[in-house]
């Protein structure tokens, strides 16, 4: 029994798009400073779950409580206050194309933290770029960065507001195996250094094993298995979870 504070509580969550039912009664508890990995095949609703968490999508029914607040019932002002406590690292990094790395990182900072001097802003940006290992990229445009560098800058941009919860949407998608390991290490470093609680959405089991305290496998709109990596995978009974494991660790 985990006695740590619950930062995310999801109960009986349903979401569908037209005739397509994506989430069909999801339940989840996420504890402070825990790293939860949500696994599942493409299109199973993993990203939908975290988008509901930050209010980008709204559930059809059920509850989604983040830091004690029901996200779907928050007025915009309170939702924005909650969003400041959540960092969202997008699958394609979502860096603003028309801005340099510095401007990308300044963007949320100057709009949400008042009374910061230019020097303080610069120091914060430089510190975070140092933390993700890319201090030299400060004046580069996103188009000049590699996929892995973009992911790192994306993470640094979310950290600029000191979030309590980090949401990583497919952090290793489209990256080579060595860069994947770098990104996995970065996720662990962020957690240790900034004491964040994280949800990592992935279908990469190597990433899951390296970054997660707990795995949750999303199948048919529900979590079909939940536990540590060892509890969920090598002894999996469900054929689909077993094949997921076999494909990642045996076939490749």
């Amino acid at each position: 029994m985990d006695n740590r504070e619950k930062v995310v509580v999801v109960r009986d969550l349903y979401k569908s798009f037209g005739d397509l039912d994506v989430l069909e009664g999801v339940d989840l508890d996420l504890h402070r400073e825990e790293n939860l990995v949500v696994l599942g095949r493409s299109g199973t609703g993993k990203s939908v779950l975290i988008k509901i968490m930050v209010g980008l999508l709204r559930q059809d029914s059920g509850t989604m409580q983040v830091l004690g607040k029901e996200v779907s019932k928050l007025p915009l002002k309170e939702l924005n206050a909650l969003r400041l406590k959540i960092g969202f690292s997008f699958q394609n990094s979502a860096l603003y194309d028309s801005m340099t790395v510095r401007e990308n990182m300044e963007f949320p900072l100057v709009r949400n933290v008042k009374n910061l001097t230019k020097k303080e802003i610069s120091m914060r940006i430089e510190e975070l770029l140092e933390a993700v290992g890319l201090p030299q990229s400060i004046n580069q445009m996103p188009s000049e960065l590699s996929g892995g560098q973009k992911k790192r800058i994306g993470v640094a941009r979310t950290l600029v507001l000191n979030p309590e919860i980090m949401l990583y949407d497919e952090p290793t998608a489209g990256l080579d195996p060595i860069t994947c390991v770098d990104i996995n290490n970065l996720i662990n470093e962020v957690r240790e250094r900034y004491k964040t609680t994280s949800i990592v959405i992935t279908h990469d089991l190597a990433c899951a094993k390296q970054t997660g305290d707990r795995m949750a496998v999303l199948l048919d709109g529900k979590f079909k298995a939940m536990g540590t990596f060892e509890e969920v995978f090598p002894r999996a009974v469900d054929e689909r979870i077993k094949s997921f494991y076999d494909y990642n660790f045996i076939n490749s």
Partner: protein, 265 residues
Amino acid sequence: MAGEADDRKPLLSKKIDKFFTGLADAWNFVRRFFQEVFLPPYEFKEVIHQCYRIGVESLPLISLTGFIVGIVFTNQSRPSLSEFGATSWLPALIAIAIVRAMGPLVTALIAAGKVGSSIGAEIGSMKVTEQIDAMEVSATNPFKFLVVTRVLATTFMIPILVMYTDFVALIGSFINVNGKELVSLSTFFVQVFDAITFLDVFSSVIKSLVFGFTIGIVGCYKGYHSSKGTEGVGRAANSAVVISMFLIFIEELLALQIVNAIRGL
């Protein structure tokens, strides 16, 4: 429970329902603009940046087009006037045509092609690459940053560009008239300012404000609602131009009726 809204049967037919839903969406988008434009925080820096992009970067194209319009329109009008021995009316005729209609229309159509498509494509690509979502989750209002700033910039810059086009077109016309009829610059512009009235200039400015607003809001709306990846971005840019141009012609027609009514024609 899930998907109830989409299971409803269409009231008329799917296409007609979609058309009216689109109209309602567009109306809400315009309404949201007027709600957000007066509320803080104000993105002054971004408005200035967009004014520069829309205004200054359009100058070469607008200059060339305005100049050519002045020359061509003067050349085309000369034979008709000379039949009545009235070529001395050329500066007045050209001035009225350019200030009342050609200047605003040509500038707005060029801006719809250049600026409207670029706004549609830029915002569309930001939408499909989740950059707009990224702004939203960082507690920033993307509508204010992307839409309000661009619509304000087009609304303010198009009238300035129109006045500039009028001037360049008149210079083009003067060069042509000076070459054929040996009219001096001062005589040409005396005739020009004698021909145009306050109502001509005022209606031209008001019309240009409306054209500018149309170009900005249509480009932003199309970009903001684009989907289906890169194909959707292309479609957003394309439909931003087509719809803006269509609306500009409708607005020109309405403006003509209103101004004629004011003149008592």
